[in-house]
Amino acid sequence: MDDVRFSVDLVADVVQMWSQPFMVNAFRAGTIVAVLSALTGWLVVLRRQTFVAHTLSAVGFPGAAGATLLGAGALTGYFGFCLAAAVVIALLGGRGAGRHGHESALVGTVQGFLLACGFLFVALYKGFLNGTSALLFGSFLGITGGQVTVLAVLAVLVLALLAVAGRPLLFASTDAETARVAGVPVRALDLGFLLVLGATVAAVASITGALLVFALLVLPAATAHRITARPARGLALSVLFGLVAVWSALTATYYSPYPLGFWLTSIAFAGFVTAAGGRAGLDRRHRGGRLVTVFPRDGLPGSRRTAP
């Protein structure tokens, strides 16, 4: 890897990069994961479940470490633990998990304890210290064709589910009470979405590592939310940003001595900051300077916004 140089000829660069089978697999897996996480992430941001997403990703670490300890492979561990944790969170806290102080204490404790379990597994599996970093912060080396197939099957499954349940899910996410009266099975959708989220987080974690899932799951989606309020366009933009982030991060990692986690988070966060800054500027220009106090839906008084 030390002898490769990024040249001005982009085509030659890409051809050179893709001559390595591990890079091809990394791009395939990255593309699948980017699409999947962008769509799920858009709903996560809408539903304000970022904290739950974060917890699920932390759960992936003991899962992967435990599975490695048992010799079952990290991907199995990611999926097993993330899906199990999604069910537990759904049963314990339901939709609001993380929104209120007491519930977030519960979710936070679960998260801390699971990371501690991961640490225990790592300590038990003595020769594993260097692998820890890959489980936590991601690695694009050594993604096998079999893993790519697993990810592809999962992505097709999740996309089909989202296509079927998309509209009722959107309804339940914006306005649960009205949706229930209109005949939408809100509770079942909440549980179903948490399962989809668990599966997505597991898929993302296999690329970004357990701790950097946020970069791919939430940031492209949040960027899209800042740019447009239209659902269809938002989803499309979210996918676009996810793909750009993954592709450019993989390329940058290949041609530089710095790790994937750094590039991915930096690119995704830079996009988000640009969009958020642009949105704030636009909003300020559109409205007068009048501040009003509103009561946001989490019931905490005192947040402020500018009146239209």
């Binding site: 007491h102 977030s104 519960l106 936070g108 998260q111 501690a116 210290l129 820890t132 912060f137 966060f269």
Partner: protein, 295 residues
């Protein structure tokens, strides 16, 4: 039993208990206020930032603690300034936190390539703590800073609780709400940097959230729940360190977190039992309505 009797003859255990006690007390007190203010996510982000701070210091060849305290306090104040009324948005916190963690990975790479020696252990130490190797000087410093955080919190606790429960009313009554928000996040940042040295940056959240969650379930009165939360955190650390000493295969951070989680689960169960018995004692038609909390 004999192992327990000779426990404190080991210097490393005495140091671990000294540092652990005050760090836990600070984490428990800060944690309860975080739960009350619904800012647990902020503490989570801060704890992860401490990882990057530690590696920034290591990569620059400085004392690890300099990096810890400097970055957590700076990021804490930055988040307070960025958020509306010192209560930042979830996506902003999460995004910034992921990016800072990404920087940490970069610094880790720089540090490892520069020292070119097997430094996988350094990352594990920062991430998951190593209180048994804390050393005398660091233990005393950690205890002193922990005590300082507790004293400062004791001073501002009352207006802070008022501001947390009803910000607008508190502001009208002359409580400097915004200043308290800043100050509290700064104290949280110091407590997070402290706790990193005991349980490691990834596990801080457990030590901060679990005792606080348990205290909040057990006691409604915030003035009683606050010290209870601190006491439960200290209890977790004492029990955890003892267990880790008796069962050497368990890392101390894991044992501490396991005890803290156990306490929260016990508190949840007693709360549920109490509610059920109260409901049964209520005959239908009486005027009292049982206070049903949470969903």
């Amino acid at each position: 039993m004999s192992a327990l009797a000779t426990m404190f003859s080991h210097a490393y255990l005495r140091e671990a208990f000294l540092a652990g006690t005050f760090v836990a007390l600070a984490a428990g007190l800060v944690g309860y206020l975080l739960v009350l203010r619904a800012q647990v996510f902020t503490a989570d982000a801060l704890s992860h930032v401490s990882f990057t701070g530690a590696f920034a210091a290591l990569a620059l060849g400085l004392d690890l603690r300099v990096g810890l305290f400097a970055t957590t306090v700076l990021v804490g104040l930055g988040m307070a300034a960025a958020g509306r009324r010192a209560k930042p948005d979830d996506v902003v916190i999460g995004g910034a936190f992921a990016w800072v963690l990404g920087l940490g990975v970069l610094l880790l790479t720089l540090y490892t390539t520069r020292r070119s020696a097997g430094n996988g252990a350094a990352s594990v130490t920062v991430l998951f703590g190593s209180v048994f190797g804390i050393g005398h000087g660091r233990a005393v410093a950690a205890a002193a800073i922990g005590l300082g955080v507790c004293l400062l919190l004791a001073i501002v606790a009352r207006p802070l609780i008022f501001a947390s429960l009803d910000e607008t009313v508190a502001a009208v009554r002359g409580v400097p709400v915004r200043l308290l928000g800043f100050g509290f996040l700064a104290l949280t940042a110091v407590a997070a940097a402290e706790a990193t040295q005991v349980v490691g940056s990834l596990l801080i959240l457990g030590l901060v959230a679990a005792p606080a969650g348990a205290a909040a379930r057990l006691v409604g009165n915030p003035y009683r729940a606050l010290p209870l939360s601190g006491a439960l955190a200290v209890l977790s650390v004492w029990a955890g360190l003892t267990i880790a000493y008796l069962v050497p295969v368990l890392p101390p951070s894991f044992a501490i977190l396991a005890v803290a989680t156990g306490l929260l689960v016990a508190a949840l169960l007693t709360g549920r039992l109490r509610r059920r018995s109260r409901r049964r004692s209520l005959a239908p038609g009486t005027d009292r309505v049982p206070a049903v909390r949470g969903g």
